[in-house]
Amino acid sequence: MFAGHTHGQDRGEQAQARLKAIYVYNFATLVDWPSEYKRGSFIIGVYGDTKVYDELQKNHSSKTVGSQPIRVKKFNKFSEIERCHILYVSADKSASVAKLADKFMPKSTLVVTESQGLLKDGSIINFIVQGNKAAYEVSKTNAEKHRLIINSTLTNLAAHVE
């Protein structure tokens, strides 16, 4: 009856993960790290259960940020998390954001989250929903604490900037 046409539920989830992965790649290119972070690989860490990791690994691990080759790492436990340029924290790990922000306070790690209200917990860029679309909010205050400089292109297109 349905002529074999399926909605491909996995494809739908993959689509949203793809979007977020591309956003993360843009964050990588539109944030400025201190000079000591501009050597070696550019590390994007993913903490939690999210298809964003798969998309980053598949489509961005062969790319570079400036001259730094991107490496994508998956952290399953809090204790595994090590130094990285960007740390993407999935929704299921939102409760640990405040602890993470403290852990990375001396370090220049761009903490990216995807649950309501996490800028106040120390996240620097937080995905939100605006008009049924994935959007993001930015905390320049938190960014400054981590010695990160956010490009105006990023803030201009943000839904909200603190």
């Binding site: 002529a3 046409h5 491909g8 539920q9 979007l19 489509n59 292109t153 297109l157």
Partner: protein
């Protein structure tokens, strides 16, 4: 069949006096002998004769002969010229048959030939030959209307256009990247089905799926290095598509509230509209249904 033929022959012999050269009789005899080529020659002469061409019987026999040519010589080829000739002959016979002596028989033959067009429409309703199918389907309707001008084709139209929508859908899926127009054609054709039958579940579901998949495809086609602006612009287009999908998928769901595939469709749409509440709602409903059915 043989009895009918002899009655026909008798009728011809009796009326033979009114027919000068009686090409019709000769044509009929050749037809009986399965000499269709000879029969054709005689009957073509019959309709050129000023007397015989005014006989309903002559045209009826012409109908028989050309129908036989279509069936046995042309082997029911879709391109057979004999088929429309047979139909025209029966029509002419009906026009000349004032007393309606042969009406039932003529009408039965026309109906048979109409059905052959329908069968051809079904057989050719495939990606490679859908244009031919459209042509055959129109001919089916035109032919049947000859004997029944008020025939209600709604049921057949619903089935045909729904299936045609499926063909366009397949063609679109085969090559999504080309702007081949099949997406729009599929949508239009499924919507045409809904004009005949607004509650058609399959059409509602398929329109929903088409819009939803188009939105998903747009996102999946994004370059890995797409800019922030491109992400914003693409999402605008996609949200429009997902919102177009929603009413059709909702209708499909209302019609079949326990269908898991439809609920998964709705879940996918709401997921891409970033509405967690609705996603959780359908997740729960699907879970309950599966538990209820022991799956």
């Amino acid at each position: 069949m043989m009895r009918k033929a002899y009655i026909l022959l008798l009728g011809l012999l009796i009326s033979g006096a009114a027919l000068s050269q009686n090409y019709t009789l000769k044509a009929f005899k050749a037809y009986q002998d399965s000499s269709y080529g000879v029969a054709k020659t005689y009957i073509d002469s019959a309709i050129a004769d000023p007397d015989e061409s005014q006989s309903s019987q002559t045209w009826r026999i012409r109908g028989y002969i050309y129908k036989a040519i279509y069936k046995y010589v042309d082997e029911e080829s879709r391109n057979s010229k004999a088929r429309p000739e047979a139909i025209d002959a029966y029509v002419k016979s009906i026009e000349l048959d004032e007393e309606k002596k042969f009406y039932d028989n003529n009408a039965q033959s026309v109906k048979f030939l109409a059905t052959t067009y329908y069968n051809d429409a079904v057989v050719t309703l495939k990606p490679e030959t859908y244009n031919e199918s459209l042509d055959m389907y129109e001919k089916y309707k035109e032919t049947l209307k000859i004997i029944n001008p008020n025939y209600d084709f709604t049921a057949q139209d619903v089935q045909f256009y729904n299936a045609l929508g499926g063909v366009y859908h397949k063609l679109y899926n085969r090559d999504k990247e080309s702007d081949n127009g099949y997406f729009e054609k599929a949508i239009e054709t499924y919507k045409k089905t809904l004009e005949f039958d607004k509650d058609n579940n399959s059409a509602n579901y398929n329109i929903g799926i088409l819009y939803y998949n188009k939105g998903v495809d747009l996102i999946l086609a994004l370059d890995a290095e797409a800019s922030l602006q491109e992400l914003v612009d693409t999402q605008e287009k996609c949200v429009e598509l997902f919102k177009k999908a929603l009413p059709y998928m909702n209708t499909a769901h209302e019609q079949r509230p326990k269908n898991i595939e439809i609920m998964n469709g709705l879940k996918g749409i709401w997921f891409n509209l970033n509405n967690k509440e609705k996603v959780d709602y359908y997740d729960q409903k699907i879970k309950e249904l599966k538990e209820g059915s022991g799956r």
